[in-house]
């Protein structure tokens, strides 16, 4: 439509258009925006005009006695009614498209939890806090939550859907622009709600293929991923037996009770292992006061981290 084109999107304050829905939503929004503007100018303009024109002049002013006017009242009920019906139907049409994912869409599972987003591809590849998709390809996100309500919102794609524990919801879109786009959580979920962000990376189809191919862990189970990571990074300081090297041996570590240097004890569970990898000096075990381990924060992916945990579980 003439009043909304891509250049105009900036004037109506919307974010960049980067999906198949963006333009049609913005066109409808543009219609609403300009008809609202006209309505406001009519009502507020009328108000201000009358206020000045009919300002009280003397204390004994006489006023006209106009209790109603059938034609006027009919018109200003009927015209808004028609406009409302139009935008209702128009909004429904686009909403219907938003809810009708093509059968051949590329499916990616999304899991929301306090307070980050995980993405699982058909190949088993897992990413966290960011995911990569090919441009001009219908994508369907099948979403669930591990704890409370969250909501998956990509402003540049104009899509949003609540994520609910205990059932699956989905949304779909086709990205039309390469680049990185923000994902926000828009359903209040507690302390980390405002930091529950993610990135969607839209790349060319070729780049997507090679990203998939280059997965070093392709076809591996999580504990196999962990084993590979171990062989590369942990083996220097940790045995797979229960014999101490620089750090503790891994066999039997999982689920055991660890005595800490501050006198407390902790069970070696997911949270503890994770912390020990990302922030090794936070909880030191008795007997390892002098051992030095550097933090792997930012060095390991979510998949690798989970892999190591799963691997540890297999070392009895």
């Amino acid at each position: 439509m003439f009043w909304v084109n891509k250049a105009h999107a900036g004037n109506t304050f919307m974010p960049p258009q980067a999906s198949n829905f963006a333009e049609s939503v913005d066109t409808l929004y543009g219609f609403l925006y300009y008809s609202s503007l006209i309505s406001c100018i009519l009502v507020i303009g009328g108000l201000v005009y009358f206020a000045f024109k009919y300002k009280r002049k003397t204390a004994s002013d006489k006023t006209a006695y106009i209790p109603h006017n059938a034609l006027l009242e009919f018109l200003w009920s009927f015209i808004p009614f028609v406009i409302f019906l139009v935008v209702f139907a128009w909004g429904w049409k686009i909403f219907y498209d938003m809810r009708s994912a093509p059968k051949d869409a590329l499916e990616i599972h999304v899991v929301g939890q306090k307070w980050n987003w995980d993405f699982v591809y058909k190949s088993g590849r897992k990413t966290s806090s960011e995911f990569t998709i090919p441009i001009n390809t219908p994508i369907k996100l099948i979403m669930g939550s591990r704890d409370v309500l969250h909501s998956f919102f990509v402003p540049s794609f104009r899509v949003k859907q609540d994520v609910i524990p205990g059932r699956y919801t989905s949304l779909w879109f086709t990205a039309t622009k390469e680049g990185n786009f923000n994902v926000f959580c828009t359903e209040y979920c507690g302390t980390g709600h405002s930091t529950m962000l993610a990135k969607v990376k839209v790349v060319s189809k070729a780049a997507y293929e090679s990203w998939l191919e280059n997965n070093p862990y392709k076809g591996l189970t999580l504990s196999e991923v962990g084993q590979k990571v171990y062989a590369g990074r942990c083996i220097a300081c940790h045995n797979v037996t229960n014999v101490k090297k620089i750090g503790p041996g891994f066999a039997g570590l999982w689920g055991s009770e660890r005595k800490l240097t501050d006198g407390s004890t902790v069970v070696a569970d997911e949270a503890y292992i994770r912390e020990s990898i990302l922030n090794p000096n936070a909880k030191k075990s008795v007997g390892y006061e002098e051992a030095v381990m550097t933090s792997f924060q930012g060095q390991v992916s979510e998949e690798e981290l989970t892999g190591v945990i799963e691997y540890l579980k297999t070392l009895k």
Partner: protein, 530 residues
């Protein structure tokens, strides 16, 4: 009409002492008690609003951490909705003026009326306890399962508090319905009633029918928490979205409990200060009732992306459009009333015009949010925050302020300082737009609501918004000064300073204990300016 000796006796000096107030059955005194209570709650809610805006002045933590912010946001919302805006107009101005409008001596059940004030106090006490002692941080909507998975019972207490306060509004509603039917002055049919009464009457019906649903919700929540029966918690086999249906089945009509009486006040102000008969009396009266009726069937417009079925979404979107029509009609009627009037710009009229300005913006953005595909983008962003503040603050609060100034001479028999009142209006009106207009833009750009921290790109507009909140604060401080100064030093008010036609202006200022010196008889409509 009445002798000077009569006039020295009024409801304020009829009895003396704090006890006489706490046990009073006089609707006017109960109204004043509501006024003081609600103003106090408004002050507390307002302080939290300022703290929230201050926290959002820059990215990162300024004064509190994320949990602290979430609590402040919960306090602000719960206090303003349940303790300020819902009881604000009906219980305070409605209580005081409904019987006066009708030419009655009091409401139909004065003891119930007093009891409803105590319900508000008890409910507020429970809510404050849950907020401050239990540190509830669920937002005022307390969505499950977040609200029940928290270890404390705070959320249930908060719902209990909201229900006890809701009970207060049921009692007030019953009283208003009975009073309107039974106690009208001789000669006053339904179509000779002032439009404020129509607004209050429609609101009363909403209060009576909608509030019990809150009780059911409370019962289900408590049963789930204590007996482990799964209604809302998926771990127990419940459905969290069901809670949203219950919540909005009460809370959407509650939105109209907040706005319908405000619309009533605006009808009074516009006619009085244009000195002109209202345009389309019946259209305004019936649209109040129409809005009340349809408002029960639109709750799902809060849930387009919640996972409810597409069919449900379509029906709710359509019905919401239907509510838009009577709302638009009212706005056009008010503007048309000013046509060929004799308009005087005193502060009540400024507030009425401020209402029209802000409510129009709140209304058109409301239509945008009712359009499904557009709501998908705006839902739970600052666009929604801006929209409902334009309706609730720009609408309801503007009407309360206008109403307070309009009826101040009648309530207290004194005039307030007009210049200072206008200055207060200026700060509030400008500050309001500076605070909330940028939030429409933030929302359109994608900034979600209830965020303790935000992306650097959103910072400039957040700063503007925070500065606006300071202007509003200055405006209300001046307003408080105007009220206190008027009470202490105000000039004596005449019986009818504005030349208005409704019955309350026929009695003395302030009115006597029994409202009228002699029973008024009605011979024409409420706005017969000829």
């Amino acid at each position: 009409m009445s002798s000077a000796a009569d006039k020295s006796k009024n409801y304020l000096n009829h009895e003396k002492g704090l006890w006489s107030w706490l046990t009073t059955l006089d609707h006017k005194r109960i109204g004043i008690m509501y006024m003081i209570t609600v103003m106090l709650f408004f002050l507390i809610g307002g302080i939290f609003a300022l703290l929230i805006r201050f926290e959002l002045f820059s990215t990162g933590g300024q004064i509190v951490d994320a949990d602290g912010y979430n609590r402040m946001m919960t306090f602000h919302g719960a206090i303003m909705v349940f303790m300020v805006i819902i009881p604000g107009i009906p219980a305070f101005l409605g209580n005081f003026f409904l019987p006066l409008h009708l030419g009655a001596k009091d409401v139909a059940f004065p003891k119930v009326n007093l009891m409803s004030w105590y319900c508000l106090i008890i409910g507020a006490a429970i809510s404050f306890f849950s907020l401050f002692a239990e540190k509830v941080a669920t937002g005022w909507t307390f969505y499950t399962p977040y609200s029940i998975s928290e270890t404390s019972n705070g959320a249930i207490l908060l719902v209990l508090g909201a229900f006890v306060m809701g009970f207060s509004s049921i009692l007030t509603g019953l009283n208003f319905v009975a009073t309107t039917h039974r106690l009208r002055a001789p000669g006053m049919g339904f179509f000779q009633m002032p439009l404020f009464v129509w607004g209050l009457y429609s609101t009363a019906i909403l209060q009576i029918i909608a509030t019990p649903v809150l009780a059911i919700t409370l019962l289900l929540l408590a049963a789930e928490k204590t007996m482990g029966i799964g209604f809302f918690d998926p771990k127990l086999g419940g459905d969290p979205v069901l809670f949203q249906h219950f919540f909005w089945f009460y809370s959407h009509p509650a939105v109209y409990i907040m706005i319908l009486p405000a619309m009533g006040i605006i009808s009074e102000l516009i006619t009085a200060f244009s000195r002109k008969v209202i345009f389309g009396y019946k259209a305004i009266a019936f649209s109040s009732v129409g809005i009340a009726a349809v408002s029960f069937f639109v709750w799902g417009h809060h849930m387009f992306v919640s996972g409810q079925s597409q069919v449900a979404g379509v029906i709710f979107s359509f019905l919401t459009m239907l509510v838009g029509v009577p709302t638009a009609i009212k706005t056009f009627n008010w503007v048309a009333t000013m046509y060929k009037g004799s308009i005087q710009f005193q502060s009540p009229m400024l507030y009425a015009m401020g209402f029209l300005f802000l409510f129009t913006i709140g209304g058109v953005t409301g239509v945008m949010l009712a359009v499904m595909a557009v709501d998908v983008h705006f839902h739970d962003t600052y666009f929604v925050v801006a929209h409902f503040h334009y309706v609730m603050v720009g609408g309801t609060l503007m009407a309360i302020m206008g109403g307070i100034y309009y009826w101040f001479p009648k309530m207290f028999g004194k005039m307030y300082n007009e210049f200072m009142a206008q200055l207060s209006f200026l700060f509030i009106f400008v500050g309001f737009n500076v605070t909330f207009f940028p939030q429409f833009i933030l929302g359109a750009q994608g900034m979600p609501r209830r965020y303790f921290d935000y992306l650097p790109a959103f910072e400039p507009l957040n700063r503007v918004s925070t500065v606006g909140s300071w202007l509003i604060a200055i405006g209300f401080l001046i307003g408080l000064y105007v009220i206190i100064n008027g009470l202490l030093k105000g000039k004596k008010a005449p019986d009818n300073p504005w030349g208005a036609k409704t019955l309350e202006w026929q009695t003395s200022s302030p009115p006597p204990h029994t409202n009228f010196h002699e029973q008024p008889v009605v011979t024409g409509g409420p706005y017969e300016f000829r």
